[in-house]
Symmetry: C2
Subunit: 226 residues, 2 copies
């Protein structure tokens, strides 16, 4: 028996494009590094409010840079990410509350579906510029991820229960306690000490902390499968 | 004869710790990749003002994160970086105007000394918590970098000339035109198109754009020399 795998917690919101990049990198490495990846759906809006931070795109020059950055990272990370046409309405006004409650309910009832449904929600909002706020949008993502219509409907009916609402609140508060002022954050425990890494550009540092090998955002084992 | 080296412009200010990290990485790779590194001393304060951005440390939770981030990156990048005790006074109040004018004068008169003197200024402010605002502080850094006392004094006498002041202003404006809202930025021209990369965490993406190999922040050739 090898050493016990280290637990990594990834706190994310499907509204956050850099969360998607971090998510895909960690999903690729979960079968390469000796880690156990815990997906923690959180609410970006709650974290911004609690920390007093503002969305980077609110500063025009940052907003401009983000578009260029995402365009380059799309190629480099091999993630089909694309800015929604109406960024302010889609990201800042409509938000992701129902979608993140759905993922939270999934994490409680069918955690094995969390990765695939999260990805399909990102594919909607951050690749094909499709809605993620209406019930039928969320159901479509769930079915595309392989859930049956009945199963997806069953989860959807739970998103307004106190249990699910509280769980999303608790996870968001946990991210804040780790010091989050945005998403994604990755929390890794090494030698009994938690390290919180912000963003999708600390994955090489994460490898260094874990004593694992960094092979870029698209490690060869993944390449071989494409 | 191989292909013509690509020119990289690094815009930096010695007040910026991430500029130091980016600077050391590019200085290491300038002898490995087929690049010509142009060091462009700029004024961080001018860029923040022009872009409307605020120093990240102004948000308490970001400030806290920066300290932890720098501590980890210090090991990973092998750069002896250390937070000054009184960050607000050293970085936000005292600033770097004279130091950056000195580096600007150097870039005009002794560009071959720019790398070493920049490093010695960072060693003062971001490693040993020493002053960089007084004339004798700047002269000490220059001499430590290998300049003679006469040579350093000669450069110091030029930092208030219109030529030097204007050059620093122009370089800072050039960074703003590239879309800077902080430092460092690295500008690379690939296929006739400029790409501006912000921060010290886009160096792997830079390698990808250049078609060069990324070998981490401490490439083996550098390791071998240590």
């Amino acid at each position: 028996m090898g050493p016990v795998p280290r637990t990594l917690e990834l706190f994310y919101d499907v509204l956050s494009p850099y969360s998607w990049l971090g998510f895909e990198v960690l999903c690729r490495y979960q079968n390469i590094w000796n880690i156990k990846l815990q997906l923690r759906p959180s609410l970006l809006g709650g974290i911004m409010k609690d920390s007093g931070n503002k969305p980077p795109a609110m500063l025009p020059r940052k907003g401009q840079y983000l578009r260029e950055d995402i365009k380059l990272l799309r190629q480099h990370f091999q993630v089909p990410i694309e800015f929604p046409k109406d960024f302010f309405s889609t990201i800042l006004e409509k938000g992701s509350l129902s979608a993140m409650r759905f993922l939270t309910a999934l994490s409680l009832e069918h955690p094995e579906m969390l990765e695939k449904v999260s990805r399909e929600l990102w594919m909607r909002v951050w690749s094909r510029d499709e809605d993620i706020t209406e019930p039928q949008s969320i159901l479509a993502a769930a079915e595309k991820a392989g859930m049956s219509a009945e199963q997806a409907q069953g989860i959807l009916e739970k998103i307004s229960t106190p249990k699910v609402k509280n769980q999303l609140k608790e996870t968001t508060e946990a991210a804040c306690k780790y010091g989050a002022f945005g998403l994604p954050i990755t929390v890794v425990h090494v030698d009994g000490q938690p390290h919180m890494l912000f963003g999708s550009d600390r994955m090489e540092l994460l490898a260094y902390l874990l004593g694992e090998k960094w092979m870029g955002p698209v490690p060869p084992a993944v390449n071989a499968r494409i």
